[in-house]
Symmetry: C2
Subunit: 169 residues, 2 copies
DNA sequence: GCTTTAAGTCAGTCTTGTTGACTTACCACT
DNA sequence: AGTGGTAAGTCAACAAGACTGACTTAAAGC
């Protein structure tokens, strides 16, 4: 039981040899890519005394305006107390604004102020540039594969959280 | 300047429309996939009082036996003090063993003990299972695209760190 | 009216990262 | 043989960001 390699027959009738070696390199690929991918915004955040947690909150508030606090907690997968710390700062600093829920007045609907939206663009700019460069150089088929595998890596419950317009299989 | 979308002509002569929407969903894809991907080992680690930092150290020591401390620091991208804390525990707990360098006796060459290797397998097992499932269901072309895009997302300097056997383009 | 829920807070803990300063042992070069 | 640089290790202090647990306030749902 030295070489635990396994062969699978794919629906498209091609043989897939998934060696431990290949699986391991994927683990590293994800580690390094994710680290570099988050590195650029991390530097911008540090200048303003924020951290990655602020970025994540800003990202989801930007793209799901009027999200509730509970909704944001679920997206991020953190506790109320953990989110509250960064949210408190963002609200106090005027980057995030709260609005009382119309149907449920207990809810606080979150959205970005103009200043918050400006920061969001600054933060996501290097990530978009990085993706654009990678996507362009890799080509559409590679991009489709990239997205499909990422989709299949995540938990079934998580999958529904990705706002994913293009009709994926 | 509302819709900052951009079109690029790929070398393979196909048009790629990279909308902000598409780029944004990739950001979320990476976030969610990475989170779920690391979730399983995180649970196992927590039982033993370890964290993700221990897992990373164990991973690289396993797959690059006789790596030096400086080498490991470079791979992980952390400071000596930060690594030392987790390394100290792993050595004290008998999971990692040190060996004085042959050519340079200042170096401490790191490798896993049997017990360390056992833990490594336990930790990487759920990740390998997850990848195997995703790879198998997505198919070889998707896997190739996945790997290619991840490669191109990371920094040029980082790329050399991935032990990547299969002859990638 | 009573219970549940959404949000917010206070307090304490833990992991993991950082700086900065310093020691010990060893290598390399003059 | 001596000197300077390097590899490893340590101490101390600090910060971000996660956690648990307990508790309050206000509003919703019955």
């Amino acid at each position: 039981m030295k070489q635990t390699s396994s062969a699978h027959r794919h629906s498209s009738d091609k043989l897939l040899f998934l060696t431990d070696e290949q699986l391991r390199s994927a683990i590293e690929l994800l580690f390094f890519a994710y680290r570099d991918f988050t590195g650029d915004p991390d530097r911008i955040l540090a200048e303003r005394g924020y951290g990655r947690a602020h970025h994540r909150a800003i990202h989801f508030i930007k793209h799901r305006p009027d999200i509730t606090v509970a909704g944001l907690i679920e997206m991020l997968g953190v506790t109320k107390q953990s989110l509250n710390r960064v949210l408190r700062q963002l609200i106090d600093d005027g980057l995030v604004v709260q609005k009382v829920g119309e149907t449920d007045r207990r809810q606080r609907l979150l959205s970005l102020s103009e200043e918050g939206a400006t920061l969001e663009v600054q933060l996501s700019q290097p990530q978009r540039d990085r993706l654009r460069q990678a996507y362009t150089s890799a080509g559409p088929e590679a991009v489709a594969g990239f997205r499909e595998v990422l989709h299949k890596i995540m938990n079934d419950g998580t999958r529904a959280m990705v706002a994913d317009k293009p009709g994926r299989k």
